[in-house]
């Protein structure tokens, strides 16, 4: 009976590179400032499309992760671009969370008078930003868009973005309610669940305050590390006023 080494050698001979991890493994990453993710994946990869999925657009820590990533990048003198489909970005809390807003290009979609719908505006804006280049992070926040609309986005759109960003030192991050990019995404994160921690007396609301929120994060799919082990991890975040 042939040993594993012999079988491996035969396969390697016939299909070179079949058993080796793909070249994407060496991609550089941007730390997110979230220890759980940085430990496991090194952060959000460059030159790859990353999708952060939140079913139903519920509270999940997606905005916290995005702002934390922005804070890390702007601290390293990178420029970031945020395409905000629902105009839900809060500059006040983002600045309090450590993001240098002067390095963030904020594109606010949703002009009702405009002939394009917000989702179309967002993809066109993302396209323009990707063509411009020079940004460390291009984030497209579709977190408030219903799943049925996300499902309608053709796969070719995601494929095009994935191919274009492949040659750029840019992290392209989509916050979506459904993992529509499928295999075009180099990294798929699922975020769900939140555990708020309150301090103080429950009977006197004025003496009670929110001191921490714990979010749950799962790496569902990655081209960067194989074999991929899907592990649920939790990370905690403090309020900006603490």
């Amino acid at each position: 009976m042939a040993s594993i080494a012999v079988i491996r050698a035969q396969i390697e001979h016939r299909l070179p590179g079949a058993l080796r991890a793909s070249g994407h493994a060496a991609r550089e990453t941007f730390p997110t400032g979230i220890a759980a993710l940085d430990r496991q994946m090194g952060g959000i990869p460059q030159s790859v499309l990353t999708q952060i999925c939140i079913p139903g657009g519920m509270v999940s820590g997606k905005t916290t992760m995005l702002v934390s990533l922005m804070a890390q990048l702007t601290r390293r003198e990178h420029f970031c671009a945020l395409v905000d489909v629902s105009d839900c970005f809060d500059p006040v809390s983002a600045e309090a969370a450590g993001a240098d807003l002067s390095r963030v290009l904020w594109v606010r979609c949703g002009d009702k008078k405009h002939k394009l719908k917000p989702l179309e505006q967002a993809f066109r804006a993302a396209d323009i930003l990707v063509q411009n280049g020079g940004f460390g992070l291009i984030a497209v926040d579709l977190g408030n868009i219903e799943e049925r609309h996300i499902r309608k986005i053709p796969l070719t759109t995601w494929f095009r973005f994935a191919r274009v960003v492949e040659k750029m030192p840019t992290a392209l991050v989509f916050l979506t309610t459904y993992p529509a990019a499928q295999s075009c995404a180099g990294l798929t994160l699922h975020m769900a669940g939140v555990e708020p921690c309150w301090a103080g007396s429950g009977t006197v609301p004025h003496a009670q305050s929110l001191v921490e929120m714990k979010f749950e994060l799962e790496v569902r799919r990655t081209q960067l590390r194989k074999p991929m082990q899907s592990v649920r991890q939790k990370f905690a975040a403090a309020p900006v006023w603490a």
């Binding site: 905005t63 702002v67 809060d90 403090a238 309020p239």
Partner: protein, 518 residues
């Protein structure tokens, strides 16, 4: 001493064709007409037109007999901007430039050999610079201004006259090059003097007896011996190009060709002066049609005759393509209300900004490319929101307690130092995800504490609540006064738990959901 001269033959024709991408000075026969509308006469023409039988002074009807000749009306503004462009060519080489005649400038190049190289090389550079500004010019270099002027007028291409050889090199030039009055020209003609050589060989005393000191001066000019002081022109800082269209343009696409040509000329002039621009103004002269209703006859309001657009850039540029793209996007957003008859482009100069990138600095968007990107983004998502804040830019938090106080400022990717941060890794902070505008809600209270929140068609029980946190501001301003009571509430939903910020507007008592901690 070294002087250079740039002479543009048939200057009125070249000035008219310089901003016209369709016609070529060398290939097409063009004549420029001048005078009152009813008595137009040929003012200047190029060699191709002369070959076709056109001569200055011909009437319009006579000129129209040659169908291959294109007739153009003289625009003095175009000639003035062409002369300015010519001077800009000269200022690229020396600060002492004389506007000798329309279409001719003389440059003091003394001492520039060590900087610019040998004389032949300087001549080539002058020719290249003139060509970049849209002129087919003759170039001459010599030891005195008048010798260079006559060499440039008389010889085509680049002529370099070594010191001491002026008389010998100018000898073959025709006496017409001196551009004398008809009376003196007739006298010289009657003596059989046809060229510089013959004039230079005349005995000095008899010549002075017949023509006076002027005759002696002419002879010294023919010998290339006159040394005069240059009268430098006052450098102007206006970079203005204009074009009057024969037929009004209605669509933006053909207008882009005109703008491109004008911007290229402006950019070439800026390059010649080592300047850039961060402020461009475009004036479009419109062809107004005043409609009159039949019978009743009231004259309807005529549209404005001028459509003015201004581009302001955060970074000075010399790139005509960048300016054109920005203008195209701007005109697509704010098109002129009538066909365009005249285009004037004026660039306000600024110094070029040099930046040194660091080896270990991360990539940044290119400033010029970014400006186009910003314009394209504005065209995609709109310019302003309902509150009048920009839709594209970087957010800047306003120093105010009023919630959601921010402004959106123009984004520029200049390399600036990152904010100072503590050496230890800061803690992750959760942030607010806003509903903009806030969602109207109804809140059930139990002992003045929210017990249930109803919004988006759902009733959700409050599990935990923290508040009230009261704030107010602008009480001195009736219109802008605000007062509210905030609560952080933990809501138990079917899909999971969520912590939301709700608030009550105190004068009205209306509840809203401001956002969620996400």
């Amino acid at each position: 001493m070294l002087f250079g001269c740039i002479h543009v033959p048939d200057f009125p024709v070249q000035a008219a064709l310089r901003v016209d991408s369709k016609a070529s000075f060398k290939a097409d026969a063009v004549a420029v007409m001048d005078g009152p509308e009813s008595q137009l006469k040929v003012f200047a023409c190029n060699r191709a037109a002369r070959r076709a039988g056109i001569n200055p002074g011909m009437t319009k009807a006579q000129a129209e007999a040659c169908p291959e000749v294109t007739l153009r009306k003289r625009v003095v503004e175009q000639e003035e901007s062409a002369q300015s462009a010519l001077l800009d060519c000269g200022y690229g080489f020396s600060p002492r430039v004389e506007s000798t005649f329309p279409g001719t400038i003389t440059i003091d190049l003394t001492g520039t050999e060590r900087l610019l190289g040998p004389q032949t090389k300087i001549g080539r550079q002058l020719a290249q610079r003139a060509e970049a500004c849209g002129f087919g010019a003759n170039i001459a270099l010599a030891a005195n201004p008048d010798a260079t002027l006559h060499a440039a007028r008389g010889f085509t291409g680049i002529t370099v006259i070594p010191p001491g050889e002026e008389g010998r090199r100018l000898a073959c030039l025709l006496i017409e090059v001196l551009q004398l009055e008809a009376e003196i020209l007739d006298a010289l003609d009657s003596w059989g003097i046809r060229d510089f050589k013959a004039l230079a060989a005349l005995p000095t005393i008899p010549l002075t007896q017949r023509l006076g000191q002027h005759g002696l001066h002419l002879q010294r000019l023919a010998r290339g011996e006159v040394q005069r002081e240059l009268v430098p022109a006052e450098p102007t800082i206006a970079f203005r190009e204009s074009m009057e269209l024969e037929e009004a343009v209605e669509l933006l696409e053909p207008l882009a060709f005109v703008l491109n040509r004008l911007l290229e000329q402006v950019a070439a002039r800026l390059v010649a002066r080592s300047l850039a621009t961060d402020h461009v103004q475009v004036d479009l002269g419109l062809e107004a049609h005043v409609d009159r209703q039949l019978r009743t006859g009231p004259v309807l309001a005529a549209p404005a005759l001028l459509h003015q657009r201004t581009l302001k850039l955060p970074v000075p540029t010399q790139d005509a393509k960048v300016l054109l793209k920005l203008l195209q996007l701007d005109l697509a957003a704010y098109p002129p209300q009538a066909p365009v008859k005249k285009v004037i482009v004026e660039a306000f100069p600024a110094h070029i900004r040099f930046g040194q990138g660091g080896l270990f600095q991360p990539l940044a968007p290119e400033p010029q490319k970014l400006e186009i990107t910003m314009a394209r983004l504005r065209a995609t998502v709109g310019e302003k929101d309902e509150q009048g804040r920009d839709r594209v830019g970087f957010p800047a938090v306003i120093d105010s307690h009023k919630p959601d106080s921010f402004q959106v400022l123009p984004f520029d990717a200049e390399r600036k130092e990152a904010k100072k941060c503590p050496p230890t890794t800061p803690k992750t902070r959760f942030v607010l995800r806003l509903f903009r505008p806030p969602l109207a809600a109804r809140v059930e209270l139990s002992r003045n504490v929210p017990a249930a929140v109803m919004f988006s068609g759902r009733r959700i029980r409050v599990k935990n609540a923290s508040g009230p946190w009261r704030s107010s501001g602008s009480w001195w301003d009736k219109a802008g006064a605000w007062q509210r009571e905030e609560w952080d509430v933990e809501l138990k939903m079917n899909s999971g738990t969520g912590v939301y910020r709700i608030f009550r507007e105190l004068p009205s008592g209306q509840w809203f959901v401001e956002g969620m901690y996400d």
